[in-house]
Amino acid sequence: MPWDRNQMAERAAQELEDGMYVNLGIGIPTLVANYVGDKDITLQSENGMLGMGPFPFEGDEDPDLINAGKQTITELNRTAYFDSAQSFGMIRGGKIAAAILGAMEVAENGDLANWMIPGKLVKGMGGAMDLVAGVGRVIVVMDHTNKHGESKVLKQCTLPLTGTGVVDRIITNLGVLDVVPGGLKIVECAPGVTEDDLRAATEATIV
């Protein structure tokens, strides 16, 4: 059985080590926070917060306290707030150990596309371009194929890029792949998924 959204998030949480400062993107990456367990992880929200807490209890929502996905959240006893320029100063400055992001396409050379589909969908890059350029390690979490069954793990991205050669590891519903010289290397397959299944679903070169 391939991993579902929560299992992908659980697998991605294994990438995080005690003491890390981490930025989680919108979508499946947000779920990673549910699986960090006892590890001492500080979550950064690029709208200006370190030490992001869980969603508030009903009735406790504060319009002045949101995450980068504009969702209401809470603070922790370690929380620090700062402005957007300082927030991206710490991102660009390499102070954030890892970012876990969603993607539309990833290529075998580590190129990432996740911010627009020309003529169809214009949302914007938000902080993604800064994150992939600045953080220590970029981990992509996404479905292996799109809704038409086409691989999202490509030889070359077709959509406008978010960054070039920036992705370190890809976690999909089918398994885990690392970007290495010459292509992608299979690190792990989801339970019941074979390496052949993974290769068949992947357009990119697997070395």
């Binding site: 200006g48 002045d64 890059m125």
Partner: protein
């Protein structure tokens, strides 16, 4: 030094002109200068270029200035969640300059700090880098981004003293300090103005030197995505 004005209209009096560049604070609908935006709608100033991370939502925040077609161009990083924005952009009625979020924040900060340009790795190899000067430092490629100096900054803070020292609250700080810094004139709206001496000088987030005019008002503070957990999950 008189910085405190009675209303958003009074505070903006004499500052607005067609074709101007306005920098606005806020992230999504959090910490947006909603009263000053309403006053600009009322003033009817046209052909605005607005530097703001987002463009509000349909019918609220900067979305109001889109509805009235007062905005000619947006400089933003993210414009999802706004159908009218998307419609005007895709039909060619609205110009849009996409800026990576950190680049936009730093462009504002730099503009306010007398730094006309800076190099960043953000966006190298993407459409953002097209037409920009590239330069290698220590084996890595960077692009040159320009500081922004706005004709007017509009920002929202939590508290101010009457000299314009500002204190923000939680994540409502976001783009407000850099936006305030980059304006030739900055007008701030706050929830409470206290007399000088009432704010601890060690706890000021933005010194009053950046703030020229100030109003106190009631804010709707709309929530864009209300997400909660049930009490029994505790």
């Amino acid at each position: 030094m008189k910085k405190v004005y009675g209303s958003a209209e009074e505070a903006l009096d004499g500052l607005l002109f067609d074709g101007m560049l306005i920098a606005a604070g806020g992230f999504g609908l959090c910490g947006i200068p909603e009263l000053l935006i309403d006053a600009i709608v009322k003033a009817g100033t046209r052909d605005l270029t607005v530097a703001s991370n987002n463009a509000g939502v349909d019918g609220f925040g900067l979305g109001k200035l889109l509805d009235t077609r007062q905005i000619k161009k947006m400089m933003s990083s993210y414009v999802g969640e706004n159908a009218e924005f998307m419609r005007q952009y895709l039909s060619g009625e609205l110009e849009l300059e996409f800026n990576p979020q950190g680049t936009l924040a730093e462009r504002m900060r730099a503009g306010g700090c007398g730094i006309p340009g800076f190099y960043t790795k953000t966006g190298v190899g993407t459409v953002v880098a097209e037409g920009k000067e590239h330069h290698d430092f220590d084996g890595e490629t960077y692009i040159l981004e320009r500081g922004i100096v706005a004709d007017l900054s509009i920002v929202k803070a939590w508290k101010a003293d009457d000299t314009g020292n500002l204190v923000f609250r939680k994540t409502a700080r976001n783009f407000n300090p850099p936006a305030a810094m980059c304006g030739k004139i900055c007008v701030a709206e706050v929830e409470e103005i206290v007399p000088r001496g009432q704010l601890d000088g060690d706890h000021i987030h933005l010194p009053g030197i950046y703030v020229h005019r100030l109003i106190q008002g009631d804010h709707e503070k709309r929530i864009e995505q209300r997400t909660v957990r049930k009490r029994e999950e505790a």
